[in-house]
């Protein structure tokens, strides 16, 4: 009980630190001149570095879901729904969640390691001594770059996942690709895609924010960098799950409101 309580308090402290850092980044981003070339550099390097891994993971996430859904739907003799159910839950729920877990390692841990190394080897202090604002010079381009490339990567991963699950459904579950594809529009529409994009944006922000924060505040040699990387990965995953809950709720409410407004004007 005591352990749980102290864990809860330290989790709240972390959350406060991250929120303050977020406000600091936003303030710096809007008050100072942006650095377009460094931001683009970040986008390109982050996207290219993570592309193969994300596509690989996306393919298998779709494949796992197809197998699981098929198992249940077989019993109800409702395999004709497989395509729709699978695509919809990949887009709305499982796809962004699992792929962003991967991004937490691939992008989040990498950035935390990079910034943490700069911090413990006193490079960030050196930048400060030279009169440059490290938040403006290091953090803002990274943060913006990570958010944009995470969204790009998540969208790409989801597309690979949908295509891959179609292929897996045909080869492993014996469901015709055409039958699979025709059931997709039953469940997915504009709001599903918009919901997936909204979640991608939320998760991308979390990945960028937590990794920059943990790297920037690292202390104490090689061990400290290791700890910062670990904490960045853990906290990113944890916040993503919590954000998943709240963004699902927000999407549900938004969809419901749109439906009600649509009925009113009909």
């Amino acid at each position: 009980m005591t352990a749980l309580g102290s864990w809860f308090i330290s989790a709240l402290e972390e959350l406060g630190g991250v929120t303050r850092f977020f406000i600091l980044i936003l303030r710096t981003a809007f008050r100072t001149r942006g650095n377009l070339s460094r931001t683009c550099e970040q986008i390109v390097s982050v996207t290219l570095r993570s592309l193969p891994t994300v596509m690989f993971a996306g393919l298998f996430v779709g494949a796992i879901l197809v197998l699981q859904y098929n198992l249940v739907l077989e019993r109800y003799d409702a395999q004709s729904l497989l395509g729709g159910l699978n695509t919809s839950s990949v887009l709305r729920e499982i796809g962004p969640l699992i792929i962003s877990f991967l991004l937490a390692g691939k992008i989040g841990a990498y950035t935390a390691a990079e910034l943490g190394t700069m911090r413990v080897t006193e490079q960030i202090d050196a930048i400060e001594c030279l009169g440059t604002n490290p938040i403006q010079y290091l953090i803002v381009p990274r943060f913006v770059g990570i958010v944009i490339s995470s969204v790009l990567l998540l969208i790409l991963g989801l597309m690979v996942s949908i295509g891959g699950s179609m292929w897996v459904a045909q080869t492993l579950c014996g469901i015709n690709m055409l039958q699979y594809a025709t059931s997709i529009p039953q469940f997915t529409d504009g709001t599903t895609i918009a919901g997936g994009m909204f979640k991608s944006l939320c998760y991308g922000t979390i990945v960028g924010l937590v990794s920059c924060y943990k790297g920037y505040t690292a202390t104490g040699g090689a061990r400290g960098v290791g700890r910062a990387v670990t904490m960045a990965a853990v906290l990113t995953n944890f916040y993503i799950i919590i954000a998943n809950f709240f963004s699902s709720m927000a999407i549900d409410i938004a969809t419901e409101t749109i439906r009600l407004i649509g009925e009113k004007f009909r």
Binding site: A3, L4, W7, F8, T53, A57, F60, V61, A63, I64, L65, L67, Q68, L71, V72, R75, Y76, A78, L81, G84, L85, S89, E93, I94, L97, I98, F101, L102, A104, G105, K106, A109, Y110, A113, E114, G116, T117, T121, L172, Q186, F187, G221, A222, R223, G224, V225, G226, R227, A228, V229, T230, A233, V234, N237, F238, I241, I242, F245, S248, D252
Partner: protein
């Protein structure tokens, strides 16, 4: 021109060959660990260390895993119910779908991926910083085998902790699923459990435990391999930790697919 091309290819290939070398080393480590396990079974000498690691890994990861899986359970049940409602205009399939999905997938994959970040990354960071500060070389000089001394306790502890945490997380996710079904869709607890019984059998539990144990074995092996092959200062530790998290995550997703496929065929 050709030299530039060769240099570019080398720059592209050297991280890949480095990764492959580490993966090969993971397999070596796996066999060494099996040998070490038999040795320890005959003459257990690391039991206190193993128990200490089980406590630190298991209890340390318990709060984050319980909270996260409960949240994941809420969301997924809600999603599945929404889909059912839309597809069949009935929610009667909720217990079957959610129960099986929770026990076969969600209650296993989510804690495993969290363990990668929490346990795997900290093992790599720990072993890696020992390596770069030459503590592992010091161990070897003292005649202590680092695999038996450092890796074996972490390996056993993570396997045990992962198996237990998988069960706890599955129970937690199921509880979340039941609470959503009861409060939002008007199931009573008895109805839900009755419907669940038709779908969930001991097979799902076997499946969950097997996956938990396999994932629990994969995480420390890959993490220790990256830790042992860590090179050069703080930067090296950071890179090794990142690579270990990514490789373990991909390995778990891949193994999840393979195991799921095997279980749909076998069980």
């Amino acid at each position: 021109m050709t030299t530039q091309l060769v240099a570019a290819l080398e720059a592209l290939g050297s991280p890949i060959s480095e990764q492959l070398a580490t993966l090969r080393y993971s397999f070596v480590l796996f066999f060494e660990l099996i040998a070490e396990s038999f040795r320890q079974l005959l003459r257990p000498s690391r039991a206190p260390e193993v128990i200490q690691q089980i406590v630190s890994i298991g209890i340390g990861s318990l709060p984050i895993i319980t909270v996260s899986t409960a949240f994941a359970g809420f969301v997924v049940t809600n999603e599945i119910a929404w889909h059912m409602d839309r597809a069949l205009h009935s929610v009667t399939m909720i217990p079957g779908l959610t129960g099986q999905f929770v026990l076969r997938e969600l209650g296993i994959a989510v804690p495993a991926l969290l363990l990668v970040a929490k346990v795997g990354a900290s093992i790599t960071a720990e072993v890696g910083s020992m390596k770069v500060t030459e503590q592992i070389d010091a161990l070897k000089l003292l005649g202590i085998e680092p695999v038996g001394y450092l890796v074996y306790p972490r390996f056993v502890a993570t396997v045990v902790a992962s198996a237990c945490l998988t069960l706890i997380a599955s129970a937690m996710t199921l509880a979340a699923a039941i609470s959503v079904a009861c409060t939002r869709f008007g199931f009573s607890l008895l109805e839900y459990l009755n419907a669940l019984r038709h779908f969930v059998t001991y097979r799902d539990l076997v499946c969950a435990l097997t996956k938990g144990i396999v994932f629990g074995a994969v995480i420390p092996i890959i993490s220790c391999a990256y830790g042992f092959r860590c090179k050069g200062g703080a930067e090296g530790v950071g890179t090794a930790t990142t690579n270990s998290v990514v490789t373990s995550t991909v390995a778990i997703i891949l193994l999840d697919f393979i195991l799921t496929f095997l279980f749909t065929r076998v069980l």
